[in-house]
């Protein structure tokens, strides 16, 4: 009983809206990102990490007309810390958000094109809020890492998953929040989880397929791999670690890296050694709290600079190593700079890792009295290392000391910026100290592996945060802006003689790059702890920043909580341009 009742023929002209034309991102575009102004295809506005846009339409003279174009809500009940840096390609913004989400937005209209929400298992263990720092673009794909330590490749047009690879076992404490980096078709990643006794590593995968090319654990004694085979051991087993402590030695590579095409080196920072109690691991504990220069083709470590040997204060050395040409004594030195958790601003020769200068960028660094430029080592003040609990009373606690900076660092994750025009670095710093003491601890999979207790205290009544312009030639602070709450957002410099950064109080602020004069501010409605960007589209210079308070400060900040308790949650990205442009 078959009856043909209807035979529909509708012209298949189903116009699915105006589809955005996303052209494939090439390796050449990625390498040229610092100079290009019409797109942002890397974290750091170029692999050098300078966070400098050459654009000059917005300047101290014109900035009074800088107004919002649109604001986009990340929605849901997931209003947690928003630490992302947006990417921009062919009129589309790719921005990540809390809880491992990514959004593609039409920049002209602020319309959402797609949204991807990673499905996270219940057992994730992020130490410091459920944040994400940004994405990477290459080919037709956009990539980011998720809180359950997965690397996800999405189709940039649709947001659909192309592939997904495991960076580490989330049940052992591995996590991932940093933006990946693409170097010549390979996607470079690190891992988070230093508080859980994981082993930090740097890995390269084929960006097209996600297949592993090389893996480099950063703790000595562990074996690296290349094309599926073991290659070399990292360092020399037990050279700077006692017994089997290296097996859970930490050194999380949780803040991403930079890349130098001139020397063909990747620079990755490594975190604190695990556990925090340094008396359990006498020795330098290589390669924790270091900057590593790594060959992107093989994963071999070419040089290292360790900023806090045998760290006992959680002074992760993960801070970004920003590449620049140091003009000194009539010469141009291929240099790099790093403002470390430990309070020192380092300038290194990036061809060999030699320490050129170490200058404090915070008012107090009581754990060490400067650095020896010959040996590259700190002059540690032994009295300001927390006492060994093995030598003290029945309560199991070692003697407590007050140290500055606090473990959240003279500078934490938030990336500084460099301006080739002023030849200055702009460092988002914090002035705080801590009481810290050590306790006994043994490793247990998936449990916090600290062996320390602590409370953070602000050093001054009137401010904690300070944006400081540092001269890398002299190590001197040229100007500073003081902020009541701790600074936790990235910095941007522009060709218009401006420096942008956000504050937990909700402001995106702009400063005259030469004088430090505050020339503009706008309250976004929640704390700004993301990294601002700038690009050009249809004749206008745009500025964008994510807004949404959170991150490590409200979770770990101790007495600092007083300074931030009235800041409300949010979750959005704001876009600005000059009125009438």
């Amino acid at each position: 009983m078959k009856s043909i009742l209807r035979s529909v023929t509708i012209a298949s002209a189903l116009v699915l809206g105006a589809t955005m034309a996303h052209a494939a991102v090439t390796d050449a575009e990625i390498m040229d990102d610092a100079a290009s102004t019409n797109q942002i295809v890397t974290y750091g506005l170029g692999h050098q990490g300078q966070r400098h846009s050459p654009l000059s339409q917005i300047s101290p003279d014109t900035i009074k007309d800088l107004v919002p174009v649109w604001s986009f809500s990340f929605g849901g009940e997931k209003q947690r810390g928003q630490q992302s840096q947006p990417l921009v390609k062919d009129g589309v913004m790719y921005v990540t958000a809390s809880y491992s989400r990514m959004f593609a937005i039409d920049i002209k209209t602020g319309d959402e094109l797609w949204q991807y929400d990673a499905r996270l298992p219940d057992g994730i263990m992020p130490c410091c809020d459920v944040i994400n720092r940004g994405a990477a673009l290459w080919g037709d794909m956009v990539y980011f890492a998720t809180l359950d330590a997965k690397l996800v490749a999405l189709d940039a047009k649709t947001g659909k998953v192309v592939w997904r690879k495991e960076l580490g076992d989330y049940k052992a404490g591995y996590s991932a929040t940093a933006a990946p980096m693409i170097v010549n078709g390979k996607i470079i990643t690190g891992v988070s989880g230093g508080e859980f006794g994981i082993v930090g590593k740097v890995e390269a995968r084929d960006a097209k397929t996600g297949e592993m090319v090389w893996s480099r654990p950063v703790i000595e004694g562990h074996m690296g791999t290349l094309n599926g085979k073991e290659t070399t051991m990292t360092g020399v087993k037990n050279a700077s670690w006692p017994g089997d402590m290296w097996q859970h030695g930490g050194g999380a590579t949780w803040n991403g890296g930079t890349y130098d095409p001139e020397t063909n080196l990747i620079f990755m920072g490594t975190g604190n050694p695990a556990p925090w109690n340094s008396h359990l691991r006498p020795g330098d504990n290589l390669y924790t709290t270091s900057t590593l220069a790594i060959d992107p083709d093989t994963g071999e470590i070419k040089w290292h600079f360790q900023s806090t040997p045998n760290d006992g204060w959680d002074f992760d050395g993960v801070n970004e190593f920003v590449l620049f040409d140091l003009k000194k004594d009539g010469k141009i030195i291929k240099a790099g700079a790093k403002a470390d958790r430990n309070g020192y601003f380092f300038v290194l020769d990036r061809t060999n890792g030699k320490l050129l200068s170490a200058s404090p960028f915070v008012t107090k660094t009581t754990w060490a009295d400067g650095f020896d430029l010959k040996t590259g080592r700190p002059n540690v003040i032994p009295a300001n290392r927390p006492g060994n609990p093995a030598n003290t009373g029945a309560d199991g606690k070692g003697s407590s000391v007050f140290v500055a900076p606090a473990f959240l660092g003279g500078k934490n994750w938030m990336p500084m910026a460099y301006s080739p025009a002023t030849e200055l670095f702009y460092v988002p710093a914090n002035e705080w100290g801590m009481d810290i003491w050590n306790e006994a601890i043994t490793y247990k999979k998936g449990a916090a592996y600290l062996g320390a207790g602590f409370t953070i205290k602000p050093l001054y009544d009137d401010y904690i945060g300070a944006l400081r312009a540092m001269d890398p030639k002299t190590g001197k602070i040229v100007w500073e802006y003081k902020n009541p709450a701790p600074l936790w957002g990235g910095v941007l410099t522009t060709g218009g003689n401006l420096v942008f950064t956000g504050t937990p109080e909700g402001y995106l602020k702009a400063f005259d790059a030469k004088t430090g004069e505050e020339v503009w501010k706008f309250n976004t409605g929640s704390g700004v702890i993301g990294s601002p960007v700038s690009w050009e589209q249809d004749g206008a210079q745009y500025i964008a920043v994510s807004s949404g308070w959170g991150g490590a400060v409200p979770l770990w900040g101790g007495e600092v909580a007083k300074a931030v308790k009235d800041i409300n949650q949010g979750g959005s990205v704001w876009v600005f341009k000059l009125h009438g442009k």
Binding site: K2, S7, T9, A11, D117, R119, K150, K160
Partner: protein, 264 residues
């Protein structure tokens, strides 16, 4: 889901002459049918056809687990069968490509309210043959959280269990289950997360049948299909929306239960 809704809005906008009324030919008299039809197979020829049969209990007990059985009898060269639920916020539950299997399957789906459930079989001439039935149900199958979403066992995600039984006609019946929350994305705070594709192949890699899945398929979905011209163990492959891989091998049963099942 958001994407689905958006596409639908665009579709509606692109079809100015969309019929607003019930198709008088629809044996189930569904107010949603013309919308479902135009969204799922726009421009294609379709007929209501009793050769396509859908079986399901007329009154749904559990809207998150509605057993559905589809049988296409007497139509040659069935290349694809889609399962449609008119009154679900997401109409399309799955597409089954028999390849070397019989044009029939059983599975378990979610329904949002009382609704027609239909199967549409595409024959090699491109015509869709549609049959179905109406089930009565209380509300909510697509908009409540999966059991897994409220603290499931992630260690078992994408775990496959199943058995194959030899049948008198020389083929075999295959029944398997995959552990997966199959979240629709319609529950606040729980993103869409579901198995997108499944394949059945010989251990040598020859494809025997294939499935494309969508949000309305139930949590920990179960599938029953009859393979033709293959006896022996099979390999199940697939992936979910987060590209988590599914890979398992299912062997033959030799139990009394197996014999009973095969003669059913």
């Amino acid at each position: 889901m958001r994407r689905v809704a958006w596409i639908l809005v665009v579709l509606l906008a692109a079809l100015p002459a969309r019929a607003q009324t019930v198709d008088p030919a629809d044996p189930l008299g569904s107010v949603m049918w013309t919308t479902v039809r135009d969204a799922v197979f726009p421009g294609a020829a379709m007929v209501f056809d009793d050769h396509v049969q859908v079986f399901s209990p007329p009154v749904v007990e559990d809207t998150m687990n509605v057993p559905v059985s589809v049988l296409v009898n007497g139509l040659p060269d069935v290349e694809e069968i889609v399962l449609l639920v008119d009154h679900n916020p997401i109409f399309k539950a799955l597409a089954f490509f028999p390849v070397q299997a019989a044009p029939a399957f059983e599975t378990v789906i979610k329904v949002q309210e009382a609704t027609p459930i239909r199967a549409a079989a595409r024959t090699s001439d491109g015509v869709w043959h549609v049959g179905g039935l109406r089930v009565d149900a209380a509300g909510g199958g697509c908009t409540v959280a999966s059991v897994a979403a409220s603290g499931g066992d992630w260690d078992r995600l994408n775990e496959v269990s199943g058995t194959a039984w030899r049948r008198p006609d020389g083929g075999q019946r295959l029944r398997f289950q995959v552990v997966h929350p199959m979240d629709t994305g319609l529950v606040d705070g729980i993103p869409p997360f579901f198995i997108e594709r499944l394949s059945v192949a010989t251990p040598e890699g020859q494809e025997l049948a294939r499935l494309e899945l969508f949000e309305p398929v139930s949590e920990n979905p179960v599938f029953t299909i009859d393979l033709r011209g293959h006896a022996g163990s099979v390999v199940i492959g697939g992936a979910d929306t987060d590209a988590n891989q599914i890979a398992a091998r299912i062997g033959m049963a030799s139990t009394l239960f197996g014999l009973l099942e095969a003669s059913r």
